[in-house]
Symmetry: D2
Subunit: 341 residues, 4 copies
């Protein structure tokens, strides 16, 4: 931590120095031309307590030097992690396509979807049984019935399944049915839920919050790892900005930034970032080119009849076409897509 003094009074400097020592850090005082700075050297486990010194009138600001995450960091684990999910590998050269409808709507809809995405070459089937919806009057999902339909559809088509969990007390139930637990963007800082999926046996698919920084996404993953679950996949799905031409702004730069900071795999969801099926194919290619370890794509047998997110869903035909077009991009990026087979 670097503590920038607003005062040059030696008494104030001494006061800060002794506070720093009391908290167990070694202070170094640097007297500049216009400002005096106190550097606090030491173990950073409790360093956030140093920031309280900002409330002193003699302190202008406290500037952290180290990133606050550990377990997710490349400095702790330099090699990329490979996450296994129902026999599918993601990370370190293994690329995975997660595809399916926004919501599980009916037995026939999810069965049909499972066949479409499996035949198209997807590695995991997605489908929501518990739906976080802005409006209480919108379709909220089929809940446990939806979990059963999803599991059955995945089994019938021979593809593992991922679905969203919205509350800590749902984790055990969802774990029974799903191969991977999704934590949605609106729950990225639902810390009770993060702790609970951190104790689960299944991998976690963690979506970045709409206004979450890259650092906060990593801190949320840190919650999960710190509870004992090392299998976390990060997902960039667009952030909220002033631009209204698209539903969200896809922060494609987050992919290489995350790959540099963490060993965890990074997936891109161009369906939610754009909210517009016509943008999904170019963004999926861009994600591969940027170094992503996977993509999550919404596909629906008949998008114009979807209960939710119809405008951003690919038709079966468009999905098959995209999967074909992606192949040479994956080859260029040095990715394999054979899953755990």
């Amino acid at each position: 931590m670097i503590i920038v003094m607003s005062s040059r009074d030696e008494n104030d400097v001494r006061k800060v120095v002794s506070r720093v020592e009391e908290m167990g850090y070694m202070p170094h005082v640097i007297r500049g031309v216009e400002r005096t700075v106190v550097a606090a050297v030491g173990d950073d486990r409790e360093k956030h307590r140093l920031t309280a010194l900002e409330s002193l009138p003699c302190v202008e600001k406290v500037v952290p030097i180290l990133e606050p995450y550990k377990l997710v960091s490349r400095s702790v684990r330099p090699d990329p992690s490979v996450i296994e999910c129902g026999g599918v590998k993601i990370g370190a050269g293994h690329f995975a396509v997660v595809a399916g409808p926004c919501s599980v709507e009916s037995k026939s809809q999810i069965q049909e979807s499972a066949r479409i995405v499996k035949d198209g070459g997807a590695h995991l089937l997605r489908g929501g049984a518990y739906k976080p919806r802005t409006s209480p009057y919108a379709f909220q999902g089929l809940e446990e019935e939806g979990l059963k339909l999803l599991r059955a559809a995945g089994d019938a088509a021979g593809i593992p399944v991922v679905t969203e969990v919205m509350a800590p007390d749902q984790v055990h139930l969802v774990e029974e049915y799903a191969d991977m637990l999704q934590v949605g963007a609106r729950n990225m800082q639902n810390f009770s839920l993060l702790r609970e999926v951190g104790r689960a046996r299944k991998p976690v698919f963690l979506k970045r919050g709409m206004a979450a920084t890259i650092k906060e996404l990593l801190m949320s993953a840190e919650y999960i790892l710190s509870e004992g679950n090392p299998n976390v996949i990060l997902c960039e799905r667009g952030i909220r900005t002033f631009e209204t031409a698209t539903r969200n702004t896809l922060d494609i730069q987050a992919v290489p930034v995350l790959k540099r900071e963490t060993h965890l795999p990074v997936v891109v969801d161009p369906s939610h970032s754009s909210g517009d099926w016509e943008l999904v194919a170019p963004m999926a290619k861009a994600a591969v080119a940027a170094g992503a370890d996977g993509i999550m794509i919404e596909v629906h047998p008949r998008p114009e009849e979807a209960f939710s997110d119809g405008p951003q869903s690919l038709t079966p035909e468009h999905f098959r076409q995209l999967m074909e077009e992606l192949k040479p991009y994956l080859a260029l990026a040095g990715k394999t897509t054979q899953g755990g087979a």
Copy 2:
């Protein structure tokens, strides 16, 4: 809903018209100079299903006309609501000051805080027992022990208490100790939690999410009301923008916008919006001038020793001074502050 066609082909127009009719709306076709538009008239309960038509290539966009909220709306209840909490009234001319430390840290700290804020003229005591922290390594709160200390401190000082609830399965426990349940900014779209506090008997203090629009804040309140709890207080606490001089950007315009849209009381939290105690006093005055029904202020006996949010906490002396300075602003705004006495 207004459906803007990208195609002028009569077959496409007929197709959309019959879809609109199938869903139970009355279509009106308007042929403009460059675009054909189909207006769908009818009950809006299921209108969000119309948006799926955007996935059709012949449709450019679907524009909603009506706001999606009902129970929170002034069009349903034109007069402002008054929420009662432990004998304190908020709304419709009743102004309330919620004050206290970020976290309950110890018995003596919360007892001292309770006396300070009560003596200064606050109407409710705040203090966190469950703390949503970005880092799993930061202080997470005293949990149930913290609830007990808060309750005891409030009782000793004669002031009702409000505290945050972070998960659906905590609601019943927190309800036993607190007079009002706070839903934090990071949980504003934790819909499982919203449903659960919607079934609670205590009023809910709902903070706006960092990237939530005013409309989404109202939709989250709608979740709570739709479950049967009419006692919701909305809190503007700053939104996330590109500006880094302050922790968040206080959206002061949200106050009159919300007062125009909803009958629910609106409170401003200048401590979290600024992250800087020096800005709290001018922002508290601005909140009153803008029409707020209350303020939430962080106060700590010794901010430089606080476990969390020290830099934004007022000292006891600064709090007392602010309360004095606010009085003429409250008089100008036509607010009374006698609580339920």
Copy 3:
């Protein structure tokens, strides 16, 4: 500057240390538990050159300690500046109301506007002759004819006038007619224009850009002062965020932040921040309560016929009412409004 090393190799540290010395700074090396840091002490005039060191693989980041502005800073001039404009004082307790239509539309419209705002108690008349419009097909202003009409209207009503200048080569012409030169939000970083108004004899009314940080606003003012013109008034007029309920988000916290950083007066424009006349009155009061030195308000004889910005313009009646309501708020804030009289 604090240079955070990514490498702990002593050769790398020596390399950075000698670079720092070559540029004329005194290096201090601090070896922390996980990072080595090099503090560069010295005159900061050329310190931005140090940031190029970030391109070295052995450097993680370069963190500035000092603010980059000087002439505008309170550390250079602790007392607030008073700007005089056509006999009206702004700053240091002198509050000014700038009011008038968005555009000068005709002789009768601006004459009528001048009388309305003067009678209502405004101190300066605004009116655009050169209009920055998003669309080339929108009304672009009456140009020099508009300047003449504005001048004549101000003279007839006995009120000084302020108008926007959009290009360096317009500055001399506009200066002939106007008492104060406005630089609009879109031109806040039009550095050629800033230099030119910095050489003008008239005060400058500098609006914050839609995506400009507070620091950048101060740097733009620094451009003007560094060219020799000390008379700059800063204007917060809303920033661009994700919120769409209002045209912009009024960053009310910027008022006390700016008052703490700079001696220059700070004015708030609630008409442009909200884009909605109903929000103007509460935001004008909030601006006074937050410590602003003035407000800029759009007023039009008949807003529904305005060539531009009709929805945010007050009617004459609403303007008079607002001016009455502001009086006790100004008294509370310790402001006088007698202009230069």
Copy 4:
């Protein structure tokens, strides 16, 4: 335009209907279950005047249906434009690489840079002679001397040159030396400058403003085209968001959105979007995959000595490597890079 009434009073509806007729539009009244809507059909040239009706208390809002741009639109010109610049073609399958240092610093630096980028395979040389800098104390460019050095370096290496123009009265001078005129992000809504480059004979490279929407970028291009210059290249260079891990957020989705809306070529600048040379290569590939018609890359012989933007500049070696790696991506995207040869 769709005018949504807040009032259901027939007198109010009649009043709005007659206003709409007076302005020359054909009104269509649709009476919904909760709202009455008036659709105004007609030539949209003056439609922005309709928005003033929002100031009427009986009107809730005015919703535009048509996009406000014309000349830049694909609806006016369905086929993509090809822009020629010094013998280099950009657009419609022709991909161009613009590369070079941020600033022209000296004769040897720009000569060396020209050779490096030409040898690496770039098609245009960039280099700033007039530098828009946030600080008046930062290096402001060599001005006319810089233009001469840039021209000479381009001629010596056999590569056309592009450089920024900052003010209307510089346009003619810059045109004498440069093959293409760059309008920087901070000047995207400097309408006086847009008009002037609209009258120039050289193509214009128009960068998106930091807080500009895609629609506003297109409107700024419309200014240039409406003055007679059809040769405009659009450049996405990152927008300002809350994320601080990168200098800006690259809005990669803007590429396919722009390609759908306009016939003008779209270039991506990953150097300015990221501010970090390590991110440039993956983002350049992503830009190609997303459908961009070109990239702009900062390259410096010795980034750690650059007068400006060192941290985001590629070394000669990294540039050559990137150009090699891009080739298969260009082939996949169906782009040729032979320039005008």
